[in-house]
Symmetry: C2
C-alpha cells in the first residue's frame, strides 16, 4: 500500500501547496508552521496511519492529534489528501460556517478534540492511549504532532512523565522542531540533543531525525511501531516555511498567509492532485466491561454523611451498573473518596498523581473513545486545569469533574486548600452543569444524572458531614431544587454546607414568628428558575448564601434567573465569603465569613423588617 | 558561626519535636512530611541561609520558600529556632486568628508567598532569583524546599526549564524525596537517579544525597553555593516521619497528627531549646533603575487604535516614569504589544516563552521584591495559570495581568483563542480589579492606575481597533465609567468591543426617537455602582452587552450592583455569547453571537416597547 520516496516527497509538497492555498483564501492562518511538518505527515499517511476516514468512529482507528493546532492548514490538507474533504471545502478555511475553523475542532470528523491552546494535544493523546491499552484493549496507535514552542508548557512534561510511567507503547509523539516560535527562536532552537535528553529522562525512547528526509521519517515511524514497553518521540529537525525561500527559516513569518501565494505554489512545483489510501485499522471489537448491575446507594434520613463519601460510594455503584464509567484522581483519592471506586474497580481506576492538567486531559482522551470519566481532586486544584476544561467545552467533551473540600468549611487547612472561585469559573464554561448537593442522597442521584449529561459537569462536595434531608426516592435532577423548610415571609436560597446553616436559621426565625422558606439550590447551573421565581413571588425577598466568593456563584445565578423572570423586582441579599479566610474550625470560619445560621437569620430579619 | 554535626543533628531533632508538638496542639497538620526534611533545614539554618529575621524586608535577605507548603509544622519550627516566633505562638498553629495557618502565608514574616497548592513554590522562587540577578543585582540566594509528590506537576518542569535556560545560579532546589505521597508511593519512589537524570536534562546540576546525613547535606549546600552559571538541585533521600518508628516510612501516615505525640517526643529525645543565629545577609543596596520621566501616551479623539497597542505603548511609557515597572510575556509579545516595552526597556523585559504558569509565577516572585510586574498573554491563556492567580490573592501579591484577543471579536482564529470566561474567573479572585477599556486613552490611564493598585488586576484588551472616544484629560479610574451616549429612555451598559456596537445602536435608536444612554463600564470590578444605579433610575431598564459568556461577567456585575442599590427593581436584559463561536470575520461573529449593534438595538426597542 505504501509508495516510494518520490511519491511521499510529492505528497509532502502537495500538503504544503494546499496549506498555502487555504491560508491565502482565508487571508490568515499559519502556513509556515504547516510547511515544516508536511513531510512528517506525508510519510505518516502513506503506510503508517491506520484510520478509516469513511468511518471516523471505528473503534480500531488510529488517532491523529495536532497538538500544534495552529498547523490546521496542514491538517486540512491531510483531510483532502485522504479524501475526507474536497478541494472546495478546503478553501472554506476560517470562513463563517465552515467545518474548517482556525484551529481544528471535532466539527470536522475524525478530529477527536479541539486544539489551539498549546500543550494540550499530547496529554489528551496520552489519555486516548490509556483507553486503547487499558479499556478498549485494541491495538490502535495515537500519533501526536507537537510543536517545539509548546515544549515549554509544563503540561507536555506531565504527559511525558505519565506516559513514561505507564510505559505506553501505543503513543508516538512527533516533535516538529522548526526552531522558530511566534516572535523568536525557541528555548532550545535546533538543539535536538536537548530534547532527546529531556524526553529520554522521562522514560521514552527519543529518535532524532531530519524531518524533511522521508527515508529517515520512514525508519523512525517503523522503529516507533516496533518499540515495545516504551513510548517513542520522534524529534524532527525541520524548517519553518520549508520549500519557499521567501519564508523558509525566516523570522517574522509566523501566523500569516504568504505575501505571494502564486509564486510560492510555483516554487513548490504547482498544485497536485495526489490521493493516498490510508491503511485500514484493526476490526477487532473493543473490550466491554461486564457489569453485575445493582442500584445507586441510598442513605437514611437524618444520617450524617459527607457528600464526598457519598460521591465515592456512588461512582463505585454506578460502575457496577455501567461499563463505560471510569474514574481518575489526582492522588487525593482518600480525600475525594474516589478510593471507593479504586477498591471496587481497580481496572477502571487511573491514578494520575499530582498533575491536574494531565488528570483532566486523560479523561478528555478517554471520553473520545466513549467512556464516561469521573475526575476528582480538591475543588481548589481543578483551577490548575482550567484551560483544559475551557478547551474541553470546545471539544464537546463529556467530562464529570468532582471537587471536594470546597469553601471555608474545610477548616484548619487554610485558604490554599479552599475552593472559593470554582463555581464562578466553572459556571462560565459553555454548556456546563454546576452542582453542589447538600446531602448524600442528592449526591447519589446527581452522580447518576451527570453520567447521562453530554457536556462538562461539576459536582462540588464537602469535607464535613451533613444530615441527610432528601428522601432516597425524592426527585433530584440537573436543574432541580428542593424546599428544605416551608415558609413565605422570606426565602433563603442555599447550597452545600450553607443549606444546613439556612435550615438552622429558618428554625430560629420560626421561633420569632418569621416563616422562612429554605430553597436547596443544589443545581447552580442550570438553576431551578421556576423555583427561584416562585420564592421571589411568594416570599417577596431572598437571602442567598454560599461558601464561595460573592462573584459568579449561587447569588449571581439567582439574580440572573430573576432578571429573566417576571420577578426581577425582588429584593435579594447575597451572603458569601468576602474576605480571605484563615485557619480555624469549620464553625469558626463559617461564622467569621458571615455565612452561618447567625448571619443568615440576621439578614432575613432585616429583610422582613423584624428586629435583628 | 556554624556548629558541628552533633548540634545540627540535635537541631534537626528539635525541629521534628516542634513539628509533632504543633500538630498535636492543632490536632491536624502534616508532621510526617515535616520530619523528613528536618535535617535539611537544620543544616540550612546553621551557616548557609543568610536572612535577617529581625528585618524581614531587608533587600539582601536570602529567600526560603516551602514549595511543599504542607510541611508548615517544620516551617514554623524553623521560625521558632531562629527566634522569629516564640513557643507559645508555635502552639497556636491552625487556630483561628493565628499567623501560623495550615499552610504558610505572608501573614507571618518573612514568608514571601502563600504555598499549599503544590508545584508553585519553585516557579515563584525562580521569579525571585530572576529579580535578584537581573533587577536587584544582589547576591541573595533563593532556597526552595520541594516535595517529591509535587515533582509530578508540570509547573515544576516549567521552573526547571526556565531556570536552566537562564542559567540562574542563585537558586537551589532541595527535593525532599521521602517516597510517600498522600495515598501511595510517588511515581519515582526512591529512584534518585530518575530525578537526577530529569533535572540535569533541563540544564541543572543535580546532587543526590542522604537527606538525613548532616555532613552530606553540608557538602551539597556548599557545592550549590559554589556553582556558577547553573542552578543546583539537591535530591535528598529521606524518610517520611523520620525518627519515630510508629510513622517512619509508613503508608497511611500523611496529613495527620501522631497518635501518641508524647511517646514520639520521647523517642526523638525530648524537647530541646536550641536557637540558631542565622547568617547575616549582604547589606549592599539593590540596583535602582534610573528613569528619564515622561508622560503616559495620549491619543486623539476619533483615531482608531487597538487597546492592545495602547497597552504596549502605555507600559513602555510607564517604565520611563517608574523604575519598579517590569514586563513579562508568554512569547506573544507582538500580539499583546508588550514588544513595545521590550524594545524600550530590554533590561526590564522577561521572555517567559509558552509557559503561562511560570509566567505568572515569575511575576509573583518579582513583586516579592517590590517590583510592579505587567504580565501579558492572550486572555484565553491566562486560564492556564488560574491556580497561580488564585494563590496570588492569598499571597497578597501585586500582579497586573493583561489579556489580549478577548472574545469573538478576534475573528478567524476560532474559539480556542477567544477568552470568554476570563472576566468571570478573574472577578471571583479575592480583591481583584477587572478592567476592559474600550479605547486607547482609557487604556493608558488604567495602566497607570493599576500600577498603584495593591492586589491583582486584569486589563482585557482587544485585537481590533476601536475609535478613541475618551478625551485624554477625562477622568478614567478603577471603579469608574463614562457616558458614551446621552439618553434616558433606556440604558445600554457595555465594555470593550461592545461599547462601539452600543454607540452604533444608540445612534440608530435615536433615528427612531428612542434616546438610549450608553454607559461605558470599562471597570467591571469594581463596577461604578452609582452610575449603574443612576442608569436604572433615570432610564428604567437596562441592556448589558459583553463579548463574554453570560455567566459572571459584565451582566452579572450589573445585576449584583443593582441588587445592592435602591434600584433593584430595574429590568435588565443581558446580551452575551451564548453558543460556542466558530471562525469568521469579527463582524460576522459579533452578529452571530447577538452582541452587535443590531442585537442591542433590538433588545433596547423591546424594552421600551417600541416596534423592533
Amino acid at each position: 500500500m505504501a509508495h516510494d520516496a518520490d511519491f511521499r516527497r510529492e505528497l509532502g509538497q502537495q500538503l504544503r501547496v494546499d496549506s498555502v492555498r487555504s491560508s491565502a483564501a482565508a487571508n490568515s492562518g499559519h502556513p509556515t508552521s504547516s510547511m515544516s511538518a508536511a513531510d512528517l505527515m506525508a510519510v505518516l499517511l502513506d503506510g503508517h496511519l491506520r484510520l478509516d476516514y469513511s468511518d471516523p468512529k471505528a473503534p480500531g482507528n488510529d488517532h491523529l492529534i495536532f497538538s500544534k493546532g495552529h498547523a490546521s492548514p496542514l491538517y486540512y490538507a491531510v483531510l483532502k489528501a485522504v479524501g475526507a474533504i474536497d478541494d472546495a471545502e478546503l478553501l472554506t478555511f476560517r470562513k463563517l460556517g465552515s467545518r474548517l475553523q482556525g484551529h481544528p475542532t471535532p466539527l470536522i470528523p475524525p478530529t477527536d478534540v479541539a486544539t489551539g491552546s498549546l500543550g494540550q494535544g499530547l496529554p489528551i493523546g496520552v489519555g486516548v492511549a490509556m483507553a486503547g491499552r487499558s479499556l478498549d484493549k485494541l491495538p490502535y496507535r495515537v500519533w501526536v504532532l507537537c510543536g517545539d514552542s509548546e515544549m515549554a508548557e509544563g503540561s507536555m512534561w506531565e504527559a511525558f512523565q505519565h506516559a513514561g510511567w505507564e510505559k505506553l507503547d501505543n503513543i508516538t509523539a512527533i516533535i516538529d522542531v522548526n526552531r522558530l516560535g511566534q516572535t523568536r527562536e525557541t528555548m532550545l532552537g535546533w538543539d535536538l540533543d536537548g530534547y532527546v535528553r529531556r524526553i529520554e529522562a522521562f522514560g521514552w525512547k527519543a529518535i532524532a531525525i531530519d524531518g524533511h528526509d522521508v527515508e529517515a521519517i520512514e525508519a523512525a515511524y517503523t522503529e516507533a511501531e516496533n518499540t515495545v514497553g516504551q513510548p517513542v518521540a520522534i524529534i524532527a529537525k525541520t524548517k519553518k516555511g520549508k520549500g519557499v525561500a521567501a519564508v523558509e527559516d525566516q523570522p517574522g513569518k509566523h501566523g500569516k498567509p504568504l505575501d505571494d501565494p502564486e509564486a510560492a505554489i510555483a516554487e513548490l512545483g504547482g498544485s497536485r492532485d495526489l490521493s493516498v489510501d490510508v491503511a485500514r485499522p484493526s476490526t477487532a471489537a473493543p473490550n466491554v466491561f461486564e457489569v453485575p448491575g445493582g442500584s445507586m446507594p441510598s442513605y437514611a434520613l437524618g444520617d450524617e454523611v459527607a457528600t464526598r463519601k457519598a460521591y465515592g460510594e456512588s461512582i463505585a455503584a454506578l460502575a457496577d451498573i455501567r461499563g463505560d464509567v471510569v474514574a481518575l484522581d489526582g492522588e487525593v483519592s482518600n480525600s475525594t473518596h474516589s478510593e471507593d471506586f479504586r477498591n471496587a474497580h481497580p481496572d477502571r481506576y487511573f491514578e494520575m498523581f499530582i498533575a491536574e492538567q494531565q488528570l483532566v486531559a486523560a479523561a478528555t482522551g478517554m471520553q473520545v473513545r466513549g467512556y464516561t470519566p469521573f475526575v476528582s481532586t480538591f475543588a481548589a486544584f481543578l483551577s490548575r486545569a482550567y484551560d483544559f476544561i475551557r478547551m474541553g467545552a470546545i471539544s464537546q467533551a463529556k467530562l464529570i469533574l468532582s471537587g471536594s473540600h470546597a469553601g471555608v468549611s474545610i477548616g484548619e487547612d487554610g485558604p490554599s486548600q479552599m475552593a472559593l472561585e470554582d463555581m464562578a469559573s466553572l459556571r462560565a464554561i459553555h454548556g456546563s452543569v454546576v452542582l453542589h448537593p447538600s446531602d448524600a442522597n442528592q449526591t447519589a442521584q446527581l452522580v447518576a444524572a451527570v453520567a447521562d449529561y453530554d457536556g462538562i459537569s461539576f459536582i462540588r462536595t464537602l469535607r464535613g458531614k451533613t444530615p441527610v434531608r432528601t428522601a432516597p426516592d425524592e426527585d433530584v435532577r440537573i436543574g432541580g431544587s428542593r424546599i428544605a423548610h416551608e415558609g413565605s415571609d422570606v426565602a433563603i436560597i442555599a447550597c452545600g454546607i450553607t443549606l444546613d446553616e439556612a435550615v438552622k436559621a429558618a428554625e430560629r426565625l420560626a421561633e420569632d414568628g418569621v416563616h422562612a422558606r429554605v430553597l436547596d439550590a443544589y443545581s447552580i447551573k442550570p438553576i431551578d428558575a421556576a423555583a427561584v421565581a416562585a420564592a421571589a413571588r411568594e416570599c417577596g425577598s431572598i437571602v442567598t448564601v454560599e461558601d464561595h466568593a460573592p462573584e459568579g456563584g449561587l447569588g449571581d445565578a439567582v439574580l440572573a434567573a430573576l432578571a429573566e423572570s417576571d420577578e426581577h423586582a425582588a429584593h435579594v441579599v447575597k451572603l458569601a465569603v468576602r474576605e480571605i479566610p484563615g485557619s480555624g474550625t469549620p464553625e469558626e470560619l463559617l461564622h467569621g465569613a458571615k455565612i452561618d445560621a447567625d448571619a443568615i437569620a440576621d439578614a432575613a430579619q432585616r429583610l422582613v423588617g423584624a428586629p435583628a
